[in-house]
C-alpha cells in the first residue's frame, strides 16, 4: 500500500467533510451553538435547547441548532453562541442563557436583529461593534492546544473534527516509520500530563524496543483527584482528538489494542467516547487495516466503577484484569510488563490529546510554547474561592498569580487569598509567597506541591489549613486500598491527630508526631497514594505552622472555621430593636430577647451553624464569630425566657 493511496483515502474523507460544511453554508440561516457537556446540562442547557426549538418553530424562523462541547467557562453556563450571518454581527457568545433568555434571543435577535447586549459575553471575532472575547484576560492569557476545538465542534460529528484538521496527524504518522514518530514526540519534550511528568517519548521508545509483539496502550481517564475534571471535559467535548493520539501512540509503539479507562461517574464522557470510536471505525480511522494500511487498531472502553486508587497505573491494570485495583510493586514497570504481562503504555487523556498537533505541526513548534523543561500547555480546573471557576489551558511557565488573579478573576467577596492546593490529595498547599512560582513540573515540585493531574483549589482567608489537611487525610484514609500497613493505619492515625487538633484537644507533641508519622507513611507505602498522602499535612505544617500552634496552644482557630473552637455572639450595640430574623432561623432556639428587645445567643444551646450570621441584615451586621469561644460576652438568659421559647417552639 503506497503513501499515495493512504493520502487519497483520507482526502476523500476530507472532501466529504468539506462538502457537508459547504452544504451548511449554502443556506445562510443562523446557527445556534449550545454547550451541551455535563456542566452545560447541569445548568439547564436541555431546557435552553428546548426553548430555542419551540421559539423558532412558533415564529417559523429557520435556524440550525448545534450541540457543542465545553468551552471551559463553567461560571457562565449555559453558554450559547449565535452565528447570524445576515444580521451584520460576528458570531456572538451569550452567557447564562436559560429558557426565558433563549426565547428573548429568538425574538429580539433572530427576528428583530437586536443582539441583546446585556446577555453578551463577547463576540467570537474581532470587530468594531462588540468587544471580542479574545481581548478578555480569560481568553487572551489562555493558550489552547489540547482544548483548541473544545466547544467549537459537535463532539458527535467526526466530520467537524476532520474539518478542523483532525486525523491529519494520524495520516502523517502512518506515512512515517514508527521510530520517526517516536523521534518527533521525544524531540517535542512532551511530559506525561497525569502528574508525574515522565517524558512521553522515552516511555514509547522503551515499549517499542521490547521484543514482544503483543503490546497494549491504555488511556488513563480515571480522573479521581478531588477538584479535577479536565479529562471529563476533553472526553465529552472532543473525544476524537484523544482517539487520534491513541492511534498514533499505538502505531509508534507497535500495539494493536487499546483500552480507554474512564470513570463510570462520567456517563456522558463514556457515551461520547463510545460513539466516537464507532464513527471512527466506520471511516476506517480505527479498526482493521486503517485507511488501507497494514496497521490494525482496536479501542475499547473500560468503565472504572468508583475507586480512586485505580488512577494509579498498576492498580488500573489490575482493575482491567478483573482483580481488585491494588497497586503493584514497580519495577517491572507496565511499559515492560503490564496488562496480561505484556508491555503496556499507560498515558493520560491530556498527554494523548497533545500528540496529534505535535505530529502535525512539529516538535519545534511545540517547544515554542511553555518552558524549556516543561514544553506545551497545562490544563487546570481552577475551583474553590475564585470568581470565575472553570477549565483553563495556559502555557507552562505562567505564574500562579496570573492564573488565579488575571485569568480566573481573583478571590470573590473582597476576601484575601490564603492558599492554593495543587495536585489533589497528593499535592500541597502553597501560601501567597509562592504566587509568583511559574507553573511547570519542576518549579511546583520544588515548592512542595506537584503538578498533579490538574486540580487547583483556591482558598480564601476563611479556610483553616488544619481543617483542610484533616479533610485530605480523611479522603486518603478512605481511599487507601489497604495493602500497605503504613498507608492503611498511618493515614488513620494522622487523621485522628488532626481531628483532635481541630477540636481543641491537641497536645504539645502532636506536631512532632505528625512529622515523623508522615515520613514513615511516605517510606512505607508502595504506590503514589500512600507516598504522597502526607503531603497536605507536611506543606501546611511548613507554611502555616502558626495555625497549628494556635489550635494546640491557645485553643484558637485563626480562620474561625473549626466549630469547637469558635463562638457566635450578637453585638448589642449593633443589633436592631425588634428585628427577629435570627430568632426564626435558629434551628435550636438558642437566640433569645434580652433588654431593649435586642437579641442574644444562649451559648449552651448554640450549635454554631452560623445561620444567624448569614441572615442578619447587612445594615446591622450584628452577629460576630470569635475564637477561642471564651471571647464571646456571656449574656444570661432570663429563666422565664427559656420557658417561653420552648412554648413557641411547640
Amino acid at each position: 500500500m503506497s503513501k499515495l493511496e493512504l493520502r487519497e483515502r483520507f482526502a476523500s474523507i476530507q472532501r466529504e467533510s468539506e462538502r457537508r460544511n459547504e452544504e451548511k453554508n449554502k443556506e445562510s440561516i443562523p446557527t445556534i451553538f449550545i454547550v451541551m457537556s455535563t456542566c452545560g446540562l447541569a445548568s439547564g442547557a436541555t431546557e435552553t435547547k428546548q426553548a430555542f426549538e419551540e421559539a423558532l418553530s412558533e415564529k417559523s424562523i429557520k435556524a440550525r441548532i448545534v450541540p457543542v462541547g465545553c468551552l471551559g467557562h463553567c461560571y457562565a453556563e449555559p453558554l450559547v453562541i449565535i452565528d447570524h450571518p445576515t444580521a451584520g454581527f460576528p458570531p456572538i457568545c451569550y452567557y447564562q442563557i436559560n429558557a426565558d433568555r433563549a426565547r428573548i434571543l429568538v425574538r429580539s435577535y433572530l427576528e428583530g436583529g437586536d443582539p441583546v447586549l446585556k446577555y453578551v459575553l463577547g463576540a467570537m471575532e474581532e470587530n468594531d461593534l462588540i468587544p471580542a472575547v479574545m481581548d478578555f484576560p480569560r481568553f487572551s492569557l489562555e493558550q489552547r492546544l489540547v482544548m483548541e476545538h473544545c466547544g467549537h465542534i459537535d463532539p458527535n460529528d467526526i466530520y467537524q473534527y476532520v474539518a478542523k484538521g483532525g486525523y491529519s496527524g494520524l495520516v502523517k504518522a502512518l506515512e512515517a516509520e514508527p521510530e520517526e514518530v517516536i523521534d518527533l514526540v521525544e524531540k517535542s519534550g512532551l511530559r506525561g500530563r497525569g502528574g508525574a511528568g515522565f517524558p512521553t517519548g522515552r516511555k514509547w521508545r522503551i515499549a517499542r524496543a521490547t521484543e514482544i509483539d503483543d503490546k497494549f496502550v491504555i488511556c488513563n481517564g480515571d480522573e479521581g483527584d478531588p477538584g479535577a475534571y479536565m479529562d471529563r471535559t476533553i472526553l465529552e467535548s472532543n473525544p476524537h482528538q484523544l482517539l487520534e493520539g491513541l492511534a498514533i501512540c499505538a502505531y509508534a509503539v507497535g500495539a494493536n489494542r487499546s483500552i480507554a479507562y474512564v470513570r463510570a461517574e462520567y456517563p456522558l464522557a463514556v457515551k461520547a467516547l463510545q460513539k466516537a470510536i464507532k464513527s471512527a471505525e466506520e471511516l476506517s480511522l480505527l479498526g482493521p487495516s486503517i485507511l488501507g494500511t497494514s496497521f490494525n487498531f482496536e479501542v475499547s472502553v473500560f468503565q472504572g466503577s468508583g475507586a480512586f486508587v485505580c488512577g494509579e497505573e498498576t492498580a488500573l491494570i489490575q482493575s482491567i484484569e478483573g482483580k481488585r485495583g491494588m497497586p503493584q510493586h514497580r519495577p517491572p514497570f507496565p511499559v515492560e510488563k503490564g496488562l496480561w504481562g505484556r508491555p503496556t503504555v499507560v498515558n493520560n487523556v491530556k498527554t494523548l490529546s497533545s500528540v496529534p498537533s505535535i505530529i502535525l505541526r512539529g516538535p519545534e513548534w511545540f517547544r515554542t510554547i511553555g518552558t524549556e523543561h516543561s514544553p506545551g500547555t497545562a490544563i487546570f480546573s481552577v475551583v474553590g474561592n475564585v470568581k470565575h471557576p472553570g477549565l483553563v489551558e495556559i502555557a507552562m511557565g505562567t505564574s500562579l498569580r496570573t492564573l488565579i488573579f488575571d485569568v480566573c478573576g481573583g478571590i470573590p467577596k473582597k476576601k484575601e487569598f490564603k492558599a492554593v492546593q495543587i495536585g489533589g490529595p497528593s499535592g500541597g498547599c502553597l501560601p501567597s509567597s509562592f504566587l509568583d512560582t511559574p507553573i511547570d513540573f519542576d518549579s511546583l515540585t520544588q515548592a512542595g506541591a506537584m503538578m498533579g493531574s490538574g486540580g487547583m483549589v483556591v482558598m480564601d482567608e476563611d479556610s483553616c489549613m488544619v481543617d483542610v489537611s484533616r479533610y485530605f487525610l480523611d479522603f486518603t484514609q478512605k481511599e487507601s486500598c489497604g495493602k500497605c500497613t503504613f498507608c492503611r493505619i498511618g493515614t488513620n492515625h494522622l487523621l485522628n491527630i488532626l481531628d483532635r487538633i481541630t477540636k481543641g484537644e491537641g497536645r504539645e507533641k502532636d506536631l512532632e508526631l505528625l512529622e515523623t508519622l508522615s515520613k514513615d507513611i511516605k517510606d512505607g507505602s508502595l504506590c503514589g497514594l500512600g507516598k504522597t498522602a502526607p503531603n497536605p499535612v507536611l506543606t501546611s505544617l511548613k507554611y502555616f505552622r502558626e495555625e497549628y500552634e494556635a489550635h494546640i496552644n491557645e485553643k484558637r482557630c485563626p480562620a474561625l472555621k473549626c466549630r469547637t473552637l469558635i463562638a457566635y455572639y450578637i453585638d448589642l450595640e449593633k443589633c436592631a430593636r425588634g428585628c427577629e430574623v435570627c430568632v426564626g432561623c435558629c434551628p435550636v432556639d438558642a437566640i433569645f430577647t434580652t433588654k431593649g428587645r435586642k437579641k442574644a445567643i444562649d451559648q449552651e444551646l448554640c450549635v454554631k451553624c452560623g445561620e444567624c450570621r448569614s441572615v442578619c441584615p447587612p445594615e446591622y451586621d450584628a452577629v460576630f464569630k470569635v475564637s477561642p469561644p471564651e471571647l464571646a460576652p456571656i449574656i444570661e438568659r432570663p429563666p422565664e425566657e427559656k420557658k417561653e421559647s420552648k412554648k413557641s417552639a411547640v
Binding site: T38, C39, L41, A42, S43, C74, Y75, E223, G224, D225, P226, G227, A228, Y229, R232, I259, R263, A264, E265, Y266, P267, F302, Q303, G304, S305, G306, A307, F308, S319, I320, E321, G322, K323, R324, G325, W340, S381, V383, G384, N385, P389, G390, Q421, G455, V457, M459, S463, V468, Y471, F472, F475, K478, E479, C609
Partner: protein, 162 residues
Amino acid sequence: MIPRELKESLAQHIASIDHPRELVVDVMFAVQDHYGYLSDEAVEEVAELLDMSPLEVEQLATFYTFIYREPVGKYVIHVCDSVICWMEGHESLLDHLSGKLGINLGETTPDGMFSLLPVCCIGYCDRAPAILINKKVYGPLTIEKLDDILEKLRAEGLTPSI
C-alpha cells in the same frame, strides 16, 4: 435467575474476547441492572459466566462504589464528599439529607425509595456542592433546591411505571 437472553448475550460477548476477565465489571453491571443490586445469587451467576470463583467476584463487588451488594432504593443518591463540595457546605447538606430521609449514609429508606451513599470526587466541582442521583448530576445545591428535587422524585417514584 437472569433471563436467558441476557445470559446468552453476555456469554457470547465473553466468548468473543481474549481475556474474559476484563469484562467482569461490565457483567456485574449488566446483572446488577437486572436485579437492582448484586445479590448472592447474582454473584454466583457472574462467577459462572466468567469461570471465576464466587469469592473472586465478591472481592470485586465490594471494591467498587457503584456495585451494590445490598438492595438499594429506587433512587440512589451519591453525595460527593470532595474538597470543593466540602468547602461549599457538603456537611450541612448531608445532615439535611439524612434528617429529611431519616437514614444515615449507607442506608435505604424503609419505603425503598432512596439510598444514601458517599462518593469520592465526581468531578463536578464547578457545580459544588453536587450529588449524583442515579448517576445524574445535580448542583450547585442549596437546601431548598434539594428539597424540590426530592419532592419531585418522590412524586415520580410513586407513579407506577407502565
